[in-house]
Symmetry: C2
Subunit: 563 residues, 2 copies
């Protein structure tokens, strides 16, 4: 059996190695357009910032090492230029010699990945407008930084790569501005949770221009002018595009394979394309979202690797199935860790789901053990069914742990109320006897049992305007005096029972505290005394972080940011 693989990174490299482990006799040829195979895509930004200093660390395998161990022929600098399913061959161009040849296959695996999205803007092809997708891109940017010593950079786009690159450039002492049309970075997160990311970026000196539109690029001496819509341009020594990625599927398209969203390759759960004996994996394929069941594009390394393995199994006589992508992801944003799994509230509502959320601020470990830090956790679930839909967490240590526990719970179709039952490992340096995930479960269980009624940040305007509502802040006097929402009256929770007579019985009571715990206790006291009481999800600290960010997003302009 002869297997040809287009693309030698994540999915392609995994498939090649796995096929060899399953079939010692198969002939396996991988064509890779770049000069590198099986490289550490996700490590590239960290090479820019000298966090990873050895370039060889990025290239996990070489064609030589791959051949020695797996007898896989990895042909780098070879671009597949056409697929010929009818005769089961591909056309290949040797980019070094220019030679063009045809290679036959019994099974073909497409793992072409995705390419940086490049909107048709004037000047986008300039040499100083960088992207960061391949090892070559990375070396080129690195060399530019080392030789030209830029002191300022504009990044267009703020997704994973944009944020990681911003941090790494900043760590090199380069002034960084992120500009993009959407008003929030990191769209896997809801806008409220993204505020914590924005605040962290600003805290570390990254300038944000959110809701601003790039219209083009112009060289001006040694610097580049980044043209903005209705604003004066930005100037920088270097520009990087990180707007997102687009499936790199022109070969599949030309060969007549069925395509989906953004021309991604349609596959079934065995990773088979619409044409027999052609499989596809990675950023180029359309997957089912595990939570919504809808078609989705999810460009992440984990799914790509799993898909490569599944293809290998199926080619070698097995019957493996890809169950769908859940979009679990995590990113380091300076000192912060931000992680998500499943779908966020915004997308859940877009999908027509009737959702509710809990927002909590637990410590990563026992409060009495030194070094504990607060995280902000948002869990999204379906009303009535309590189906767990997704979660987002921003914080420090222990964020990645809780998102993986929640990912596993979603994968296993646990109900949101079941999070309270998870038997998680506790010792003071690692967690609390009631783990943050258990706490989320307790809160959701309280909602299910009618013990907890909430109001959300999105209700704030209507609550403030409701002349029939009583608004109470149950923090201490000093907390309240330090900062509070205008319109809220201060009654510390421990004194609430003594002040019930001051609260009108027939009005709904909206309660807030710092994190949501004391106000929950307050709503319980109120409810049992006949009040219709609602607890503010997330507490004042959540309100404050989001409002702080929103006011800055509106204020930040290109004006004054110029060199």
């Amino acid at each position: 059996m002869k297997i040809v693989i287009v693309g030698g990174v994540a999915g392609g490299a995994t498939a090649a190695a796995r096929i060899r482990r399953l079939d010692e006799q198969a002939q396996i040829i991988v064509f890779e357009r770049s000069g590198y195979v099986s490289y550490a895509n996700c490590g590239l930004p960290y090479y820019i910032g000298d966090v990873i200093t050895d370039p060889e660390a990025l290239t996990l395998q070489t064609p030589e090492s791959f051949f020695k161990r797996f007898r896989v022929t990895m042909k780098v600098h070879h671009e597949v230029t056409a697929l010929h399913p009818e005769k089961k061959t591909v056309s290949v161009k040797n980019l070094t010699t220019g030679e063009v040849f045809e290679e036959s296959y019994d099974k073909l695996i497409l793992s072409p990945g995705a390419k940086p999205t490049q909107p048709k803007l004037p000047g986008i092809d300039m040499e100083k407008v960088f992207t960061l997708r391949t090892v070559e891109d990375t070396f080129r940017l690195k060399k530019y930084i080392e030789t030209k010593k830029p002191t300022s950079a504009v990044l267009a786009g703020g997704g994973f790569i944009g944020l990681e690159l911003a941090e790494n450039l900043k760590d090199l002492g380069i002034d960084v501005t992120i500009v993009q049309r959407p008003k929030q970075l990191m769209n896997p997160f809801d806008a409220d949770m993204a505020s914590f990311i924005h605040n962290e970026m600003r805290k570390h000196g990254v300038k944000l221009l959110l809701g601003h539109t790039v219209e083009g690029f112009e060289e001006k001496g040694e610097t580049i002018r980044v043209l903005l819509k209705d604003e004066q341009p930005l100037h920088a020594d270097l520009v990087a595009l990180a707007i997102g990625v687009t499936p790199d599927t022109h070969l599949a398209k030309e060969a007549g394979l069925q395509l989906g969203i953004k021309d991604s390759i349609v596959v079934n759960d065995r990773m088979e394309t619409s044409i027999p004996d052609i499989y596809a994996a990675g950023d180029a394929v359309m997957v089912k979202h595990y939570v919504t069941g809808q078609d989705a594009l999810i460009s992440l390394a984990g799914p790509a690797n799993k898909q490569g393995r599944i293809i290998a199994d199926n080619i070698c006589g097995g019957d493996s199935h890809y169950l769908g992508s859940q979009g679990s992801s995590v990113i380091k944003v300076f000192d912060l860790t931000a992680a998500t799994t499943g779908i966020n509230e915004t997308n859940a509502r877009k999908a027509g789901l009737d959702v509710d959320t809990v927002i909590l601020s637990p410590m990563n470990h026992a409060g009495y053990y030194p070094g504990g830090k607060v995280m902000t956790m948002k869990v999204v679930f379906e009303k009535n069914t309590y189906r767990l839909l997704g979660a987002q967490i921003v914080g420090y240590e222990g964020v990645d742990k809780r998102i993986d526990v929640l990912s596993t719970a979603i994968h296993a179709n646990l109900k949101a109320t079941s999070l309270q039952d998870l038997d998680l490992a506790y010792a003071p340096p690692y967690s609390s006897a009631k783990d943050p995930v258990n706490m989320a479960g307790f809160m959701i269980d309280n909602i299910a049992n009618g013990v907890l009624k909430q109001w959300h940040l999105s209700d704030l305007t209507s609550v403030l305007q409701d002349s029939n509502a009583t608004l109470i802040d149950v923090r201490t006097i000093s907390e309240y005096e330090h900062s509070h929402i205008e319109g809220f009256k201060n009654i510390p929770v421990d004194e609430l029972r003594d002040h019930l007579s001051e609260i009108e019985k027939d009005k709904p009571v909206y309660v807030i505290c710092q994190s949501g715990l004391r106000s929950y206790i307050a709503t319980r006291i109120l409810s049992q005394n006949g009040y219709d009481a609602y607890n503010f999800a997330g507490g004042f600290r959540f309100y404050e972080a989001v409002m702080h960010d929103r006011s800055l997003v509106e204020k930040e302009t290109a004006c004054g940011m110029d060199l």
Copy 2:
């Protein structure tokens, strides 16, 4: 409704607070024998070692703060001396005044906890023989250390408290010896995994005397002689008992409540005892093990808190059920983190289960990102059904994360093969595209599909004695020359295909490498060339760690350890 609670720590305090949140009118009285309520049991060893320096940090709540917030009457220094279910009262002794009185209840909650196991040994009641269960115990030991400045300590017993205390004493510059009859510390772990804990303890200068029996204690001037069976005694300035705990259930026993293992209180899944209107929670109750379904004693804070909450729900008209304990736990052992969930291999075999295991040594995060460290993971599953039974991990960062993912998978009844499908969050600082838990799943999937056949450390003797077996070490020449198992021939994996003619076809081939990955590839090459090949679970690094420990356990004697 009047609720009386016996014991104001974990389960009792949780129940009290939750009842108040559910019922503003209930009368709630807690009797606590010690002077402290709702204290941080698990933090006590860290107060000894000055990791936690503020004693108030240990006492999360005071009777005053509890009353202010929850209107719960917490009576400390009050010991309940008898239960009278027939008249629904308890006898209480005010330990300060000596006054004895009766208190009536509508509902009674028993949360008496457990007491340190104290075998009837001569001298065990001496003042210098410490235990560490209550805040008072802790202050007493702390004061002794501060005033007497002991330079040596003998700890009898090596469970959670013993190990945490050993580390904290050592950090104070005190010479520590742990002595106990069992040949391994931390019995939730299999002996092989415990070896990593032993090695870490020794690396940090803690002396271990495992398999040695303490027969008594004698004062000798300022020091204590710890008498050992068939050996010369140890001498130390301080002795601590940490042999384990026993349910503190004499009240329940005298009142005729049904008792189970070690006189623990029998409860149903609503946490109701055998007598109406009496509930029990925490270390004093017998639970169902979530994995085996068998009765078990599991003394951990997480379950105690959950049970307290369930009792509150049920007393207040709800219907909450405790699903059983899974024994998830984690401990910091100097630089190491050791964690476990479910049952270990030893206990699974004792329970008559037909088990298999995989042992792997993944990095906590991408190898190319700085700071990555290797962990050792053992996953236990049932043969044929692939039911996930348990897991143990020792390593550094990220151990607690993976055990919680595995805990969640066990709770959700996921199959061991399904671990490969988990969609876990990946970025270089946090994980690998194939997370360690996924890797375990891949290995188990390979076993299920006949792609991986293993041999284990327990097979070593028979493998070495099998004159019909071929033994191959596929590491590099330099690794092999550095250290190897006598009898294994070195053929580096990348050269294996060229040396097949040297390996006899009709003999089973047992293969080893450093971590198990290269040897797996070697077994695949061999299998497909007609050999019956087996991969060594855990690799040479596992073999070396366990063997190093076992040889020391046999050598370590009291001789030479004397002052």
